[in-house]
Subunit: 264 residues, 3 copies
């Protein structure tokens, strides 16, 4: 199985699929081609949330503002999974989540499920603007053909310790509240923060101050009236600011990178 | 085969696919993940129009404004098909259409192709905001594994007679015209009404009054000039208000739920 | 393998998939269903760029402003590929690119890889507004079943020499510059012209005048600062006007059909 993720919209992902299907016959699954354009950080977050739900696969990821420059191509092994994409940090949060999951299940060869990073040597691609088609899709097909267990023996792969990695900031939490930041806004307009959902555990049914405004803490969106603002724990386990049947980003006036203060 | 429908956009459907592919190895087909958000009624209409074109399948449907509340999860058997989703009415129009089609083909065990509704008992899901991933995708995989014919023996399924069902209003038709309402607007801006297309049969080539304005009745969009308003029979068999190579919703100023009066 | 392309958005393509899967069991790959609506020319361009990356397949293409009129349905054979769609020109650029590629690889039976065009005879479809579902999807399934090599023996197919074909204008190029036009704008806002990329070969690192304004010629987007305008060679091999991490169409004020003058 090969999954595909990009910020390409359409029809560019189809060219990647054609390139892969010229080389291997396997299931292809789209994760998303609608990641915010050139936003490595958002893609890294979403991949960390989504890829661990998949069975072992090769994950092709192309959110690549440095396309055509000398940034490297990477293959990252994480448990039974491999991730293929540019060396700009986008692969690492998902890889670490996959490795941790593998380790927790006792599936990781290395015991604690560390990631292993390889540089993928590519020649001169036929374009400088579409390495998804010309570099990464062939690489993903090659990795699928080689097999995740045999990457060490692959001609074009060399282990490397130096690579980019997106990291997400830690929130600060104490008994009076929490301060964190917005990581992403989803398609519903739900505002996903970096504050762990556990901080809400003792406050469900109460009000909390979100950047100074009182909002109810609920378990489910529909515990509020349509159009009402709320705070809840999202499916990623973090505090999420939302509006029942509406857009939290508009109501709270918040977007990625902005500060969120919760107090009780 | 499992089809997937939701109002999720991207990348949430990919998490559902991962969950399914952890459990079963079958073809996955997206119906749409762009249904209007939280709009159970629109999704119910589109599923009724689209699902009957499929061969026997399990249809996973998640348009679910009540996620995380105590609304139930349902499995509906209709001919050789099963539908899996929330008990908010979204499944029923499609299920009934599938059952009728099965009956018409002589495929339905029961003769007249009634639907059979089961409650699906789920434990405590890992989130209250993403039952697509945590409840319905596992349920769809389970139903696929059990097989549509063997649902009665499934542990988590219990027959139920009480369930929600979306219904669509009946239009009024007489020899002077018809009055109905807009059911949905499609991506082209075509305005789909609940008035049966047969009312236009004797009027093709004539003008009809649509909410008081004269518009030609045509067989095909391109029988009018680009930009011109028209009335025709859509692919769902209903009267449709459109603009050749333009948007009917803008030109007619109409959206879901609004009244449409046709007169001749 | 059957690929699907349209301007349908969602959920209409799912009905086509259902119709196909009722008839054949093969891999389905979406090329795009987001082609600009009723824009035969844009779709023809994108298909020419994308389909040659695929292994042998049947390519179903429905961008069809003449749906329901007496425009014909075509099947075009190109090397080991077949294309199925309306006789409005949309198929031909891709078909010719596929035939040329086949010929270059020595794969084309005919030596020089010409396209062969068949009219597909269809009865009275069940709708006049959705031939994708009622005419072309069944045709694509039938062509897949017959096999690309055996189209001559198919009941509903008759060779034809008269058919529509989209063509793209030739640019004018001399030692002082080039004049061409915008073919399409992609989802990133990159402005794709008909001027061959070779004209930039001797000018990388220099400035060029684009409609009178000086802009750097670069190999990769990221050679400029974010937000800066640039000229480069796109993945299609043509001159492309872009903004690093921004939208070239907005910055240059250009869209399909408009004139682009390059000078040095």
């Amino acid at each position: 199985m090969i999954t595909l993720s990009s910020d390409f919209g359409a029809p560019y992902p189809a060219a990647m699929k054609g390139v892969i299907l010229q080389r291997v016959d396997t299931r292809l699954v789209d994760v998303s081609h609608e990641f915010p354009r050139q936003d490595v950080r958002s893609a890294a977050f979403w991949l960390r949330e989504v890829l661990p739900w998949f069975p072992p696969a090769v994950h092709l990821v192309v959110v690549d503002p440095g396309v055509g420059t000398d940034r490297r191509a990477l293959v990252v092994r994480a448990g039974d999974h491999a991730l293929v994409g540019p060396d700009n940090g986008v692969l690492l949060p998902a890889a670490r989540a996959l490795a941790t999951a593998a380790s927790a299940n006792g599936d990781a060869a290395g015991g604690d499920g560390p990631v292993e990073v390889f540089e993928y040597a590519y020649g001169t691609p036929s374009s400088n603007t579409f390495h998804g088609r010309d570099v990464f899709a062939p690489a993903a097909a090659a990795v699928h053909g080689i097999g995740v267990d045999d990457l060490d023996a692959a001609d074009r792969l060399t282990r490397t310790d130096g690579f980019e990695a997106v990291t997400f900031p830690d929130p600060s939490v104490d008994e009076t509240g929490a301060e964190g930041e917005v990581l992403v806004v989803d398609g519903f307009g739900n505002v996903v923060t970096n504050v762990p959902g556990e901080v809400l555990a003792d406050h469900v049914g109460e009000q909390t101050a979100v950047n100074g405004t009182e909002v109810p803490v609920v378990r489910a969106y529909a515990e509020c009236e349509p159009g009402q603002r709320l705070v809840t724990v999202g499916s990623h386990g973090n505090v999420e600011l939302a509006v029942n049947q509406g857009r939290g980003d508009d109501a709270f006036g918040l977007g990625p990178g902005q500060t969120v203060q919760l107090g009780w």
